[in-house]
Amino acid sequence: MMIDLDVTINGVHRHITTDPRLTLLEVLREQVLLTGTKEGCGVGECGTCVVLADGKPVTSCLILAGDADGVTIETVEGLATDGVLTEMQQAFVKTGAFQCGFCTPAMVLTATAIFRENDNPDIEDVKKALGGILCRCGAYPKILEAVIEVKGEGT
C-alpha cells in the first residue's frame, strides 16, 4: 500500500509516492536524498533528526510519512542560498560552534527558527529550545556564543 504526499520541501513543492511505514526522516534521507538531516537514535531522544515543519522544530524520526502530507518542511539544505550562508550559519562558522558537525544541521535550523520568532530572544529561552538536541562533542558553549553573536550583544 503506497500513499501520496503533497509536501513543500525547502520552498519546492513535491508530490511524493511513498511507503506509509517510512518516517518523514527516512523519506527525506532515502527518497528525496537530503542527507543533511541525521538519524542518531530513531526515538526522538537525540534531536539530530530535527527539521522545521510549518516553521517549528520537530523530531522527524517520529513523524510517519502520511502525517507529513500537506506540511511545509525546511531542512538544513534550505538555509543557504546559492552557496551564501545565512547570518546564523556564518555565526556558527565564526565562533566554531560545531566539532564533528553531526548535530549541527539540527542546531542551526533550531537556532534559525528561534530568531524568526524573536530577533532578541532571552538566552535561557534559547537554551531550552536547543535542549532537545544532543551534542556529544560538547560544542554547547560556542553554540551559545554564535547565538549571542547573532543577537548582536557580543561580550
Binding site: G40, V93, F98, Q99, K127, G131, R136, Y140
Partner: protein
C-alpha cells in the same frame, strides 16, 4: 614568523558542516547496495547448539544469511580472541550470531525473527571480582592458545592482561611515612555515544580477493590491518575509504560494523553491503569504557610530600579484549598522577567477563585512574589539613623532573594549569548556603597523560601549478578540528594562503600510513611530518624562484604565496612563478615521515624507555558545585579548565577540545551509567542512558597554558583527551567541600549522595 599558526581561523570544514553537506559513514550509499542486520545473543554465556536460517533465507528480499560457521575468523588488536560472528559459543548479551543482508534494511531486520537459534546456557561470570575466583567460569578457556602480542596473561584464568611495575621499596616507604591513606575507588562503564552510530559498507572483489570498505573511523590503517589480519589477507588487500566521522572519542577503531559488513560482503557476489547499527546496538554491542576497581595506598609526610604509593587495579574487558590491553597497561601507570613519588608499586590485572566489550575511551584509561588518584589526593589533603591546591603544587611535576622511568620531563606547564584554574574559580571563597536546602563547594583535580610513543605519521604534499596545496594524509576529521590545524601548519610551513590548502579524505590506497587520530597525537606527529615536507616544497619553490630571478634562494622568503626579498619587497607571486617556469602542467611534490622513536627526549632508565612519552599533557580543572540536600541533585555552577598544550596552533580549536572535554567529563561523572541484570544491559537506549544537554552545563572557562617543547611543530603538543578526565574528581572534591560527603564510586548520583549523608536507607 607565522601567519596562520597561532591564529583563531575558522575551521576548514565549516561550510560542509553548517550546510548539511558533510557526508558521514552513515550517509554513504552505493548502487546495488544490500542492507545488513544482526541477530544477537540474548544470553551472557551459552553454547550455540544449532542455527536454522532456512526461513530467513526464504524471506522476501533476503539475499544472504551468514553464521560464524560460514565465517569462522578471529580478529583482535592485542589478543586475537574475537570472532566476526560467534562460532560455537556466545560470550555476551548482544554478541553477533547471525548476519542477514537483504534488499532493504526493513527486510533484513524482519528476517531476524525467522531465525531459530538453540542455545545451551552456560554459567556466566558477570562482575570482575568474581572473575578472579578460582572457580569462576572461564570466558576463554583456551586463552593461552590465542595469537597475541607481548602482554602477559595468566593461563587457565580470566586474566587476559597482567602488568606489574615497581620502583624503590613501597613497604619501607609506607613504614617511614607519617601518614598512610588508603582507599578503594571505582570507575564505571560508559558509552561514547558518538552521535553518528557505527556504520560501514563493504564490497568484496573475488578476482583480487580484496575488500573495499567505506567507513567512519579514527584509525584507518590500524583498522585496515586488523581486518586484514583477521581475514588472513595481506593488508593492502583491504582498502578503507573514510568519510567524515560523526564523533569517535575512541569508539571507532575496533571492527564493529565493519566486521559484519565484511562477513556479508564475502558472500554477496560482489554487491556492496551496508551495516548501520541501531542506537541500541551501538550502546551495548560496540565498546564501552573499561570499568576499573582501583585500590590506592599512599604514604605521605606531614609536610604534604608523598613518599610511597601502591596501586592495585582491576579492569574489566568484557567478553573480548579489543583495545583494552593497552588501557590496562598504559592507564595503570598514570594512577601515579603528575606527582613525584619515589617508591612505587603497581599491579594491574584485567579480566574477561561475560559482558559487553570495553575499550579505548577518550583518555585510554586516564579518566578512570585520575578519578582514583585525584579523589585520594583530596583525602590526603583533608587528613593533613593542607589546602588541596597547595598539596598538588607541592607534589606536582616541574620542568626537568624525572618521570617514573627516569625520562626527563620537558614542557611541563602543570603549575600554571593549577594556579590559573584556581584563580579563575575563585579558590578560597564560597557562598556556602545560598538557600536552606542548597550547599556550595569548590574542588580541584589535575591529570597527566602521555601520548602513544613511539608512533609515526607520513604525509605527501602536492603543490599544483595554480598554487593550490593538497596535504595527502590519513588523518580523518573526527571533530577535533585537526584537519584545520594541519592546514594551518602546512600553509605556514610552505608559505601559502590557508585558503589554498586542502586536506582531502583518507583512502588507504592513496594516503600514506598514519597512526590513529587518537592519543591526542595528530597535531604533533602529522604536524611535524608536514613541517618537514612543507619545508622541502618551500625550498624547491625558492630555489626555482632564485633561478628565475637570478638571485640566491637564501635571499628570498615566501609568505601567503608572495615571494619577497629579505626587506619584504615583492619579487614575484607563487602563481606567476609556477606559470612562468612550467610550460606544461606540473606539480611539486614532497613526502615525509615523522617518527618520535629515537628522540633524545625519550631517554630513560635502561629497559624502561618504553614508558617514556614524546610529550606530556597536563590539565587541571576547578569546579564550583551546588548540591540540593533534599534531592541529592548536583548542579555544576562553573568549571575552569586549564590545559598545557605546548602551543595553541588554533586557540579556537583548542578551546573546543577543552570545553568539549569538560562537557563530556561532567556528563560521564554525574549523568551516565549502565544498569546490568546478569550481564545484560537494561538501559541500552537513549531514553534511559542520559548524556548532557545544553541545559545541563555550566559556564566553562577554557584556559590555554603554553610551555616550551623543542621538538613539537611550532611548539604544539596535544589536547584532545585530557579535559574529560579531571572533571568528575573536581566535581566530587567540590561536593566534599560543600557537605563533607566523599563519593569513591562513579557515577556520582543523587542517591549515593543522600545515602552518604545518612538520609536514605539502602533498598
Amino acid at each position: 614568523m607565522t601567519t596562520y599558526v597561532g591564529a583563531r581561523v575558522p575551521r576548514v570544514d565549516s561550510v560542509e558542516k553548517v550546510t548539511g553537506g558533510a557526508v558521514y559513514g552513515v550517509d554513504v550509499a552505493m548502487p546495488g547496495m544490500l542492507h545488513g542486520a544482526v541477530l544477537r545473543s540474548p544470553y551472557p554465556h551459552a553454547r550455540i547448539v544449532s542455527i536454522d536460517t532456512s526461513a530467513a533465507l526464504a524471506a522476501p528480499g533476503v539475499e544472504i544469511v551468514v553464521t560464524g560457521r560460514d565465517f569462522p575468523l578471529l580478529f583482535g588488536a592485542a589478543i586475537k580472541d574475537q570472532p566476526f560472528l560467534a562460532i560455537d559459543r556466545v560470550r555476551y548479551v548482544g554478541e553477533p550470531v547471525v548476519a542477514v543482508a537483504a534488499a532493504s534494511e526493513a527486510q533484513a531486520q524482519e528476517a531476524l525473527d525467522l531465525i531459530r537459534v538453540d542455545y545451551e546456557e552456560l554459567p556466566a561470570v558477570v562482575d570482575m571480582r568474581s572473575a578472579l575466583d578460582p572457580d569462576a567460569p572461564l570466558v576463554h578457556p583456551d586463552l593461552h592458545t590465542y595469537k597475541r602480542g607481548p602482554n602477559d596473561i595468566v593461563p587457565h584464568t580470566n586474566i587476559n592482561t597482567l602488568y606489574t611495575y615497581e620502583r624503590g621499596d613501597v613497604e619501607a616507604g609506607f613504614a617511614a611515612a607519617d601518614v598512610v591513606v588508603e582507599g578503594e575507588y571505582s570507575a564505571h562503564a560508559i558509552s561514547h555515544v558518538a552521535l553518528e552510530v557505527h556504520a560501514a559498507i563493504a564490497q568484496y572483489d573475488s578476482g583480487s580477493g580484496g575488500y573495499t570498505l567505506w567507513v567512519s573511523t579514527d584509525r584507518p590503517f590500524l583498522l585496515r590491518n586488523e581486518l586484514a589480519a583477521g581475514l588472513g589477507v595481506d593488508s593492502s588487500r583491504v582498502r578503507l575509504i573514510v568519510a567524515q566521522v560523526g564523533g569517535s572519542f575512541g569508539a571507532k577503531g575496533v571492527p564493529v560494523a565493519e566486521a559484519i559488513a565484511v562477513a556479508l560482503a564475502r558472500h554477496s557476489g560482489g554487491r556492496p553491503v551496508k551495516v548501520e547499527f541501531t542506537r541500541e546496538e551501538d550502546l551495548v554491542a560496540s565498546q564501552l569504557r573499561v570499568p576499573a576497581i582501583m585500590k590506592l595506598k599512599t604514604g605521605v609526610n606531614r609536610n604534604g610530600l608523598m613518599v610511597a604509593r601502591s596501586a592495585e587495579v582491576l579492569w574489566d574487558s568484557g567478553a573480548y579484549t579489543a583495545y583494552t590491553v593497552g588501557v590496562a597497561i598504559r592507564g595503570s601507570q598514570t594512577i601515579i598522577g603528575p606527582y613525584r613519588i619515589p617508591d612505587l608499586k603497581i599491579l594491574s590485572r584485567q579480566v574477561y567477563t561475560n559482558k559487553s566489550i570495553t575499550g579505548s575511551y577518550r583518555g585510554y584509561g586516564t579518566t578512570q585512574v585520575t578519578w582514583a588518584c585525584e579523589t585520594q589526593m583530596d583525602e590526603i589533603a583533608v587528613e593533613l589539613g593542607i589546602d588541596p591546591v597547595e598539596i598538588r603544587l607541592m607534589n606536582g611535576y616541574e620542568e626537568g623532573d624525572a618521570y617514573l622511568n627516569g625520562q626527563i620531563m620537558r614542557s611541563v606547564g602543570l603549575r600554571e594549569t593549577i594556579e590559573r584554574s584556581a584563580v579563575e574559580i575563585g579558590w578560597g571563597s564560597v557562598e556556602r548556603e545560598p538557600a536552606p536546602n542548597l550547599r556550595r563547594g569548590k574542588g580541584i583535580a589535575t591529570m597527566i597523560k602521555p601520548t602513544m610513543t613511539p608512533s609515526s605519521s607520513n604525509v605527501v604534499i602536492n603543490l599544483e601549478q595554480d598554487g593550490r596545496v593538497t596535504v595527502i594524509c590519513a588523518a580523518p576529521e573526527i571533530g577535533s578540528g585537526q584537519d584545520t590545524v594541519l592546514a594551518q601548519i602546512a600553509a605556514d610551513a610552505i608559505g601559502v594562503p590557508l585558503s589554498d590548502v586542502s586536506v582531502p579524505a583518507t583512502d588507504t590506497l592513496l594516503t600514506p600510513y598514519n597512526g590513529p587520530v587518537a592519543s591526542s597525537r595528530t597535531t604533533y606527529h602529522m604536524g611535524n611530518a608536514i613541517l618537514d615536507a612543507g619545508g622541502e616544497i618551500r625550498e624547491q619553490v625558492l630555489s626555482l624562484a632564485g633561478e628565475v630571478l637570478e638571485v640566491e634562494p637564501e635571499t628570498l622568503e615566501m609568505r601567503d604565496g608572495i615571494i619577497c626579498d629579505l626587506d619584504g619587497e615583492l619579487q614575484i607571486t607563487l602563481k606567476d612563478l609556477l606559470a612562468k617556469f612550467y610550460g606544461e602542467y606540473y606539480s611539486i611534490t614532497a613526502g615525509a615521515r615523522f617518527s618520535s622513536a629515537n628522540s633524545p627526549l625519550l631517554k630513560a632508565d635502561p629497559g624502561e624507555e618504553w614508558m617514556s612519552s614524546i610529550f606530556w599533557m597536563l590539565c587541571t580543572q576547578a569546579a564550583e558545585i551546588e548540591v540540593d540536600t533534599d534531592t541529592g541533585v548536583i548542579r555544576v555552577l562553573k568549571v575552569a579548565a586549564a590545559a598545557d598544550v605546548g602551543k595553541a596552533i588554533n586557540p579556537m580549536t583548542v578551546e573546543q577540545q577543552i570545553e568539549g572535554g569538560v562537557v563530556m567529563g561532567l556528563s560521564n561523572g554525574i549523568l551516565e551509567g549502565f544498569s546490568y541484570d546478569n550481564g545484560r544491559i537494561e538501559n541500552g537506549n537513549l531514553a534511559d542512558y542520559k548524556v548532557a544537554t545544553i541545559m545541563d552545563i555550566p559556564p566553562i572557562v577554557p584556559i590555554i597554558v603554553e610551555s616550551v617543547h623543542d621538538e613539537a611543530p611550532y611548539g604544539a603538543k596535544g589536547v584532545g583527551e585530557p579535559a574529560a578526565a579531571a572533571t568528575p574528581p573536581a566535581i566530587a572534591n567540590a561536593l566534599y567541600d560543600a557537605i563533607g560527603v566523599r563519593i569513591r564510586d562513579l557515577p556520582i548520583t543523587p542517591e549515593k549522595i543522600l545515602k552518604a549523608m545518612g538520609e536514605l536507607e539502602a533498598d
